[in-house]
């Protein structure tokens, strides 16, 4: 010990004063920093980061795996739960309501209006309306459509209505047959859509008199006659609906049918959502078409069964076509709706009936 206690004391004070001066000087321009709180050691929760990545909350994390296949590197796909909720909560119930509602509407219309008779009764004279090819095309489509609708609806509603009645084993047999049948015959609908588009597409192009037909409601309300060509506007709307819905339902069905082209689950979920909604709308629309073609209008069905219609039916429902068909009857049996010919206003026929 060479230093005296007083000297040591003095130097200690000097250090303290210097330190306080430095502290005071630094605290003048800014607020003094708050004393560090006795906080726990800050450790980010690594599990949170891991599971955030697994759930792909921030960005898609591409995992790598030895197992080959589509999306095997995805640990958790989020849209699965959305698909489940959509199917159970948002689709099956409303689909039933849409179909039931459409059936009720058709029934109500039948009770309110009854069968619409051929204007002025049957004349006994027949006009050729649909040649063999058209009728084969129509019934091919119709039978296929009804088959696909029944098998599809069994798969959609069977678990809730059929399974509790006949038991799981029997229902499994039916459902399996429905699935196989639906898958095997479903793709044939492509030929229906293409065939109809080629065969009837040009005759379903919109025309000025169609607007008048729509504005008058197709003559559904009241007894006013509305003029129409080979196909009226209602038939044209149904035709283009069939083409559009048919193409969509076929395309989405093909996506689901062949799961071997590497399509992701999200694509197939979307395809199934589209397939279901479009199919339900298609079936609901078909109720109206079937009703009008059979019970709703006297003399309509025979155009698709025999290929001929009564002349008064043609006169009453498709006067422009009738005029043209009877004019051209001598030269050719089947009439075509040439738009250039149908410029005449529906004169005499409408006046007579009102």
């Amino acid at each position: 010990m060479t230093q005296s206690p007083t000297r040591h004391h003095r130097s200690w004070w000097l250090v303290c004063i210097l330190a306080f001066t430095a502290l005071w000087a630094s605290s003048v321009p800014a607020q003094p920093a708050p004393p560090p709180a006795a906080s726990p050691i800050m450790v980010p929760n690594p599990s949170t980061d891991l599971w955030r990545a697994v759930r792909q909350r921030e960005a898609a994390v591409a995992g790598r795996t030895q197992v080959q296949g589509v999306q095997t590197g995805v640990l958790i796909q989020k849209s699965g739960e959305d698909f489940r909720n959509y199917r159970r909560e948002d689709f099956i119930g409303p689909a039933g309501m849409v179909l039931g509602g459409a059936a009720v509407l058709v029934l109500l219309f039948y009770f309110a209006r009854g069968e619409i008779p051929i204007p002025d009764g049957r004349s006994g004279k027949k006009i050729r309306r649909f040649p063999d090819f058209d009728r084969v095309l129509h019934w091919f489509t119709a039978i296929l459509f009804i088959f696909l609708a029944l098998t599809g609806l069994t798969l959609l509603f069977g678990r809730f209505f059929l399974l509790p009645v006949i038991g799981p084993e029997a229902f499994a047999v039916i459902a399996s047959a429905c699935k196989e049948g639906h898958n095997l015959f479903g793709p044939l609908f492509l030929f229906s859509v293409l065939g109809m588009l080629i065969r009837w597409g040009s005759r379903n192009l919109p025309h000025a008199y169609d607007l008048k037909w729509i504005l008058k409601g197709g003559g559904i309300i009241g007894t006013a006659h509305v003029s129409a060509g080979f196909f009226n506007a209602g038939e044209k709307i149904w035709f283009w609906s069939v083409i559009l819905l048919g193409a969509t339902v076929t395309a989405s069905g093909l996506v689901l049918l062949f799961p071997v082209f590497g399509q992701a689950r999200e694509i197939m979920q979307l395809a199934l959502v589209v397939h279901g909604i479009v199919a339900v709308l298609f079936i609901a629309g078909s109720f109206g078409h079937i009703y009008i073609g059979t019970l709703g209008t006297q003399g309509s069905l025979e155009s698709m069964t025999t290929g001929y219609v009564d002349e008064n039916w043609a006169q009453g429902h498709h006067d422009l076509w009738h005029k043209q068909a009877t004019g051209a009857q001598a030269s050719s049996g089947a009439a075509t709706d040439k738009k250039t010919h149908v410029t005449a206003e529906p004169g005499a026929a409408a006046v007579e009936r009102t």
Binding site: I41, P46, L50, R159, E169
Partner: protein
Amino acid sequence: MANMKFYCDAERCIECNACVTACKNENEVPWGVNRRRVVTIKDGEPGERSLSVACMHCSDAPCAAVCPVDCFYTTEDGLVLHDKDICIGCGYCFYACPFGAPQFPESGAFASRGKMDKCTFCAGGPAETGSAAEHRKYGSNRLAEGKLPLCAEMCSTKALLAGDADVISDIYRMRVVNRGASVLDWGVNYDKASLRQSKGMKGKVSSKG
């Protein structure tokens, strides 16, 4: 009644794929079907982690909700199993499952889906326990023999845990207490992990965990 669960400890999985191989061998699954797979995220980057994933036997299983023939059922042990005699191979369960567990052999016409196959927690299926039919359709029924799923039983690092949820979570909780939730460089390392040790726990719990 137990509530059987899998848990994969991402800090321990070394992506050896032994669970995948063990599962394929034990259950003799159809060609092209993997009931279990190991997925590595951030492969080759800092923070790389691997997880072994199969059917997680959800308590509220989406597959069962969307199945059009209602072929799924939950056992008393909380396992989600399905009846292959009822399954029609539509694929909806695959769309709904978050984990990609349902698998389909390409046994249908034009390589379309056959009957769905997925992890059974080595608990067989609805066929008679121990029968040849059960083994052919669903694979091994180790649970009936008092054994746990082979994937977890033979996991070399004991990353993959299988068993009653309470037991599994106890084991995992012990591990977390000892080492922290992470041992590597995802924000924590061994130095920091040592700071997290609880009072009086040092050198004691590690022998149990």
